[in-house]
């Protein structure tokens, strides 16, 4: 699975951990586990957004079918 395919899910999961904590009904050990999970998701989202390098490809109809080759962007 690629990073870009996970961003949306990770962001939704991060916000779900905040919601779960903000309900305030979790026992402390569970709350801390959720907190740590949220922190991992926070780091992951941050890293995906900060470090992604955009892929740009060009679609070409070749003899073997449709292929994508890098599209030069200056």
């Amino acid at each position: 699975m690629t990073e870009e395919s996970n961003f949306e899910d990770s962001l939704a999961a991060l916000e779900a951990t905040v919601d779960a904590l903000s309900r305030g009904d979790l026992p402390l050990d569970r709350a801390l586990a959720v907190f740590e999970e949220g922190l991992g998701l926070y780091r992951r989202c941050h890293a995906i957004l900060a470090d992604s390098e955009q892929r740009v490809t060009k679609l070409i109809a070749a003899a073997e079918g449709l292929i994508e080759e890098p599209f030069p962007v200056e």
Partner: protein
Amino acid sequence: MDSLAVTCESRPGVPEALTVTQLARVIRDTVRANPILSRILVRGEVSNLQRAPSGHVFFTLKDATAQISCTLFREDAEMLGFDLEDGMDVVVSGDVDVFPRRGSVQLLIKAATPAGVGAFWAAYQKTRKKLAAEGLFDAARKRPLPSFPRKIGVVTSEVGAVVHDIVTILRRRYPIAHIVIAPALVQGPEAPASLRRALAFVADRVDVVIVARGGGSLEDLWCFNDEGLARAVAASRAPVVSAIGHETDVTIVDFVADVRAATPSAAAELVSPDATELMARINGAGRSLVGEIHEALRGARGRATALRERLSPRGLQRGVEANRALLERSFAALSAVAPREVTRQRERLDALGRRLDVLSPLATLQRGYAIAEREDGHVVAHAADVGSGDALAVRFQDGRIRVHVNQEQEDHDRRIEL
């Protein structure tokens, strides 16, 4: 090429004669060999238009002083994108060919576009009414754009400012997405088929498609009024954002698209979330996490206070140690968030830790109190829980002594003699 060998009898002093068939073949071969006469664009007025039951279309293209027969085969007629009519001013593209059997020169037409403002509007209005009547422009058909597209398709010319503008904006706003460019011709008679092909190629492998072209004349933009292209946009699996010409240009494709953008740059912004806003959202969630866990820890302290009386010293000590471990883990986790936030939280958590220490019964003993326990270590919190003859231990800060209860106090003012 056929041999020009003469089959009729030759006579001295007279040039050798060709048969008619031979002549026709020479003409045909000459026409076919001339590159100027293939893939040619011709402008003229449609007349004598006839539609054969087979689906082929025959007409004459003429101007003030000349005319030429034209044939449009069924497959090409179906792909034309608008209806040819007598009197219509058109630009056609195709190949000149010769039909020896009828001794005629013809234009085999592959594609056509209306030419001139009058023809343009007539065809435009006709297509627009037709597709509107079918409901292809209905608001209910419009699909929402994905919030986080993983792949973004771009159908446009691969050269020029449009593709560059779109890529530049997407790179700034949403570098996570993969951009797939599907190159297409964006003007001329071949453009509708080229655009349809590019859209069909890309629509199945992306989450959203931008169909874009820079500004141009009515004729330049004509391909985006093509009926077949409009139907392809309507049928696209991925939602389509159109950005064609300037804001004042509205093509049939714009009506059919799920969203119409004023410019290619605006289209790029419409299909992509803004990374700056996303980063703010992520950081906001991080801050909320820290705030909420702080609340949870405060709540835990409150519960620890409430439980104090009911826990054995040893058990409470373990509880304190466990809480310390949790606090240490949370410190470690917090240190990843934001240094300033962590410093502030750490100070508050340190204070919380000190309070937990104060709550420890061991600290209570340090202050000179003693605790009565049963043999199993349970704290005796109420005189009413003790009966005469019970064996207890009294715990001081420096050790414990065993005692027996030898008298039980009555009623409300119970007193225990040790």
